[in-house]
Subunit: 131 residues, 2 copies
């Protein structure tokens, strides 16, 4: 009986991990990326920039079509960043996810906070493929 | 004996899937992103652009510090793409991975193929954080 129980638990564990693994793979298959870069005005304060970073990072909890989110400051050595200092990658399942995000009140409030400090923006949307 | 064999196989399968799952999670923790955007010259041909896309997509098999790679053409409706039509996100474990990539002969050969068709480039490197 013990052997059968161990076997059963082991098989269930395999099945659960395999399903989880495949779920992640499927979500990664062809995500829709919304790449956003900012260059702030010379007179934007450190406090204003930090407030914008914090507000952007709060959006994934407010807009449920966001499936992934990450950001960082440029550390490139090639000086080819066209003046942009901040890059944010907001991921959706598809274009429809972005179409919910753009007019969402939480996103509009973020843009309102952003604009007074913004010098230049870049937005690039694409369905990510591997080759 | 059959039961023991099944149990053994099942346990090995669990262990392998669990390890693979955790490996992916670890690689995702704070990946180093090398974001590259291209605007091609007006006289670049479709064949030249396709050759560049194909050559870039071949790099992950040639340079082993690349841990992830994806790309896509801009489909943004906001017209804020600053003229860039192609975005590539090359991922490394860390800055050291990029430092192997840049001077690698395969990367140099790719740049040689790219330059005659290139109008404008953007490169943005960052360590991805979630908030």
């Amino acid at each position: 009986m013990k052997t059968i129980a161990t076997l059963a638990i082991s098989l269930i564990l395999s099945a659960v991990l395999y399903a989880d693994h495949h779920k992640e793979k499927a979500a990664e298959a062809a995500p829709f990326r919304h790449v956003v870069m900012f260059k702030f005005k010379d007179d934007a304060t450190k406090e204003q920039v930090t407030a914008i970073e914090t507000a952007f990072s709060a959006l994934p909890k407010k807009i449920n079509t966001i499936t992934d989110y990450e950001w960082g400051a440029n550390v490139g050595k090639e000086n080819k960043n066209q003046g942009f200092t901040h890059c944010f990658i907001v991921t959706f399942k598809d274009q429809a996810g972005l179409d919910v995000y753009i007019p969402h009140p939480a996103h509009k409030a973020f843009v309102k906070l952003l604009l007074p400090s913004l010098d230049k923006v870049l937005v690039f949307d694409f369905t990510a493929k591997k080759n």
